[in-house]
């Protein structure tokens, strides 16, 4: 007679249990510096309601958040500030590059703007669009959640590169 598994017990590793918990309680650090931030706010507020994904605690303090959302243009002068914020966030941490400007400079191919924050930060999800719809933001959030469940973050490569410098 086969041994029956009691129905109220699931076995797993501690790590995947933690990752599962993390993926469902992303605390975003919104870095809204231009027009894309309006769509980010829409996605976070009640109509699109990112708190369905456990992302309701908007922390404007990097020390208490694990998901950096860069929405907007980053200038040469702002980039060191953004990097400082990223370094202040505790690991594990993830980064969403929202919109054409943050991802590639967008239409602003000028002397003043960073042509893509991924030259300096490890980006986990890019959102195309100018500005992206909140649905696209939610999709990126789900991509990051998927990574978190698998225990992946692009922070690792970044940290190694930063240590080489």
């Amino acid at each position: 007679m086969a041994v029956e598994k009691p129905f109220d017990i699931t076995t797993t590793t501690l790590e995947s249990a933690i990752n599962w918990a993390r993926s469902n309680s992303m605390w975003p650090m919104p870095f809204g510096v231009a027009c894309c931030a309006i769509e980010m706010m829409a996605a976070l507020m009640s109509k699109y309601d990112a708190s369905r994904f456990g992302s309701e605690v908007l922390k404007f303090s990097p020390r208490q958040s694990d998901l950096l959302i860069v929405s907007g243009r980053i200038s040469l002068k702002m980039m060191p500030v953004l990097m400082r914020i990223w370094e202040q966030m505790p690991e594990p941490k993830w980064c969403i590059s929202m919109g054409a400007c943050a991802s590639s400079g967008g239409v602003f191919d000028t002397y003043a703007l960073i042509q893509g924050i991924d030259q300096f930060l490890p980006v986990d999800a890019y959102i195309p669009g100018c500005p992206p719809r909140p649905e696209a933001f939610i999709e990126a959030l789900m991509v990051v959640q998927e990574k978190a469940r698998e225990g992946k973050a692009s922070t690792q490569a970044y940290t190694e590169k930063a240590q080489q410098v």
Partner: protein, 178 residues
Amino acid sequence: MGNALIVFDPTTGPPIAQRVQAQFEGRLLRGYQEGLQQGFDVTAEVAPSLLAFLRNDLGCTCLVDLTAVDYAKYPEAQPARFGVIYILLCPETGARVKVRAFVADSAPRLATAVPLFAGADWAEREVFDFFGIVFEGHPNLKRILLPDGYRDHPLRKGYPLRGKGERADFEVYRAFTG
């Protein structure tokens, strides 16, 4: 149109223009009227005394804006390459006055307006940042919007849109893409 504060009499001209013309006879490059705004073009040397006269004697105590234009490649010939533009407001009458001080191309300099208008402080720093016009006597003339290490003045005509390599030369770039 209920908020038009002042209506100039076109036959006698606005009082500010008359008094400025009497005081600065022969020292104005041009005086003109654009809508309800009176404008005076002057050289860089005359600008401080004209601003002081407008502020102290004619009641134009509010500096609305201070900016600059690079007239290189401008279709109509101008007295000098740079025009530093002061827009003043007389709070009592609502009169608006535009003063344009022309500054020459080589080592552009102009006396600061900060002793007259405290609000000129950051505006002059911005003009210095983007046009390289040095305001003599400014209490703290350094860059305000661009990074401190920036070497050029990008709103001058002829400055390339993508910069002169600042994007690649920037210290953050050096540390993390090198």
